[in-house]
Subunit: 222 residues, 2 copies
């Protein structure tokens, strides 16, 4: 069965950038393409939107079909639509992303994916389509959101030292962070609440323990 | 000429939410639809993507054709794709937004727009499609971005008092903002730089003058 339109229509896909922290580094989930174009190349999990399917539902379905991963809360990043981004036809991709803990996540490649695996952001293989550009945009958004969301705290125990928090930030930002700037920034931001307790971890000096405090700067100005 | 595909394809549109401050209130640009569906109803400027057209280019073109407005730097908000959002067919809309000064902007309705005009966010007419939902999402994003961008300063002179800044924030957030919380927040955020000068405006007490300082919290932690 074919489908006919008066004007040319682009195809619409969704793709997913799923970040996590593994082996002390920022990693993301890729699949190896079973089919042309870019057969055998690594790519983001994703695929074509069904005509009666919600966008976010499509992203979750493709992630599940190609990697076995389910139950991740996805957020829309943005839509990529450069005219020549797919050699087959005009394809508009609505991209979703997430940062999640994956301790008990079992990968199982399927559907259009010949394989699925975690890759460090710093050591990505050659990618299909414009997926390297999509991943850079997703990482930029992740960094931006760190300063105004609580997503970072899922990688910490309920109480933690500033040094432990800084270390998680360094992994997520994928860059070194100056200790003094970090301390000054967080202690004035009001995102943290001192517990009044001290702890000694590893070879460190005794340090104050903090916990996260819910906070959204502008919304709380009223 | 018709266009045939093996699988059904959605149509893709772009829509634009253009905010400004007029008459001491947050306003946005709407057009009145010349054609069905929702003929005669107010809606966001926007329309169908040409098959060889960049997404952002489409948003700028539709804005120009329907309202005469050009030269606005548009930012992608997100894509709206609820299955039933358009009664004609499945339509995915990639939405762009901006906050801009419009002093010398002349509106000129054209193309699919029978009229174009500014409406206060607080007093919108009944809108076509899911455009009320899109506008709410755009305003939420605008509020979020205020805390980490310099877009607010385009509505202020180069030096300003905290009270002048707070008043612009109130208009943009469209809510009252507590004076003391606002003062404490901005003086610790590091977004402002004191000029060392004082001024007296209107019936106010003498107040310190500030200017904007470029700043992005997490990017500057290094």
């Amino acid at each position: 069965m074919t489908h006919t339109y008066q004007y040319p229509h682009p195809a619409v896909t969704t793709d997913v950038v799923l970040f996590t922290i593994r082996e002390d580094s920022l990693q993301l989930l890729l699949i190896r393409r079973r089919n042309a174009p870019f057969e055998g190349r690594w790519a983001l999990p994703g695929g074509f939107l069904d005509i009666d399917e919600d966008l976010e539902r499509c992203a979750a379905r493709e992630l599940a079909e190609e990697t076995g991963v389910t139950g991740i809360e996805l957020e829309q990043l943005r839509t990529f639509g450069a005219v020549d981004r797919d050699p087959r036809e005009r394809v508009i991709s609505v991209v979703y992303f997430a940062l999640a803990r994956v301790e008990n996540l079992h990968l199982r490649a399927g559907d259009d994916a010949a394989d699925a695996g975690w890759f460090a952001l710093r050591a990505l293989p050659e990618l299909a389509f414009d997926h390297d550009q999509i991943i850079r945009a997703a990482h930029e958004r992740l960094v931006t959101e760190l300063s105004r969301s609580k997503i970072v705290f899922q990688f910490l125990p309920e109480t933690f030292t500033l040094e432990e928090l800084r270390r998680v930030y360094e992994i997520l930002v994928d860059a070194e962070i100056d200790k003094r700037n970090f301390r000054r920034y967080f202690l004035t931001q009001g995102m943290l609440e001192p517990t009044g307790q001290l702890c000694r971890r590893g070879g460190q000096r005794q340090a104050r323990l903090y916990r996260a405090r819910e906070r959204d700067p502008v919304a709380h100005l009223g």
